[in-house]
Amino acid sequence: MSIADQFEKKIQTGELATPIPRWVVILKHAALWTAFTLVAMFAAVSAGVFVWFILDPVNLTIDAGRSMSLDRFLDALPLLWAIVSFTCALLAVWIFTKSPRGYRFRVAAVLVICFFAIASLGVAAASSGIANRVEEMASRFVPEYSLMARPRILKMMNPGMGTIVGRIESFGTSTLELSDPEGVFWTFSINSQDVLQMPRPMQPGACVRIVGDVSSTNRTGEVEIIRPCPRGVRLHPPVMPLFNR
């Protein structure tokens, strides 16, 4: 008995399981393309946050003179977003190659196209303000996000080098009170009103960086430069759980 005859017999007797319905196949394809779209979008948004960090103008004004570009790349937060973006981009390429006719395209070509598309969308996300909102949401809803900000804060909180970071408790025409990440109060004197000309209006609770003549013993100093905190630090509370442990 040929295989065809055996099949004919099995179909007649109902021995063969019925074919998988068409709607299941359509659903599978839809799930695959949905996964691809979501992963690619997440890769683009992550790339956007990474670009947004790197292009922070506040970060550039003070740190540019004293830190190498590589330092900015190695900050934990931008690096985190770069890794997330890269991983999601690779996942998107992998999903694409698993699509019904994905094998027809060379993986290298798909990789290059995907990376260019994700980078372009990332730049768009960074310039449209989406990256800003994503960072705010991450700070609010992911507690571990503060841990990732720690290396940056430690780098900025360096009294020996005359740099302090913290939230404004109060300020007047000639004094400024800050609480640093450990919750310690610092009092600064302001000799020139020029130092208060910040990009954003100064108000209690705002995160600022100060460069000046600092005395660690008395927790006092004289302000030379005052700037808003850079991205990735400005949203974190002045007394961080990490520093209180």
């Binding site: 295989i3 179909i11 007649q12 019925t18 074919p19 998988i20 027809r104 060379r106």
Partner: protein
């Protein structure tokens, strides 16, 4: 008691048309099995060297797979490419399980595909009548890595186009071309070791 199927004439339907009606008319799968049964059985034996019984088991499983997933058949492909892909994948996984028990490529002596392979090796059109050639080519194919053997069998014995091979092996057309070129080079190199090979 088995009720005989009513006679429906599927002869005029193409493979792709039959595949599209199988989900609603299960009997339409039988003529597809008839059309491909012998070709695919020979293909399994060519690339794996399995005995006929083992090859039939693999083919039967592959047909059950194809029947179950017929709704997933991509109408943009040729049905032959799709069914070859299923059979190919089944054969390769069975081959990997039983690799140690295999020794040589199993092919009928009168298979004209060998002559095509030989003429491709020498880039000439000389056809060889001697069965000696077939035996030698079997030995050469058996010495080649599985991927090289697969592409040579598909290209010269099954006479599949690059596009069809791309769909069967699930690789870009350019990659298939590279595989064939490399396999031909290896085949030619091994062929030099056989002075009895008539060219």
């Amino acid at each position: 008691m088995i009720v005989p199927m009513p006679l429906v004439d599927y002869q005029k339907n193409t493979d792709e048309e039959l595949a599209s009606i199988v989900p609603t008319d299960h009997r339409a799968f039988v003529p597809l099995v008839r059309r491909y049964e012998s070709k695919l059985l020979a293909y399994i034996r060519r690339i794996s060297g399995f005995q006929k019984e083992d090859a039939e088991d693999i083919l039967q499983d592959a047909f059950v797979d194809a029947y179950r997933h017929i709704a997933g058949f991509d109408p943009h492909l040729k049905f032959s490419s799709w069914i070859y892909r299923i059979v190919h994948n089944r054969t390769i996984s069975a081959y990997r399980k039983h690799k140690s028990s295999l020794n040589n490529v199993s092919i009928d002596d009168e298979d004209m595909g060998f002559e095509r392979l030989l003429s491709a090796k020498e880039e000439s059109q000389s056809l060889v009548e001697s069965s000696l050639n077939s035996k030698v080519i079997k030995q050469i194919l058996d010495k080649l890595p599985p991927r090289d053997k697969e592409v040579l069998v598909l290209a010269y014995i099954e006479e599949k186009s690059y596009e069809e091979m791309s769909d069967i092996l699930q690789a870009p057309i350019g990659t298939v071309g590279t595989w064939i070129r490399r396999a031909r080079q290896k085949f030619a190199k091994l062929g030099d070791e056989y002075p009895n090979l008539i060219r």
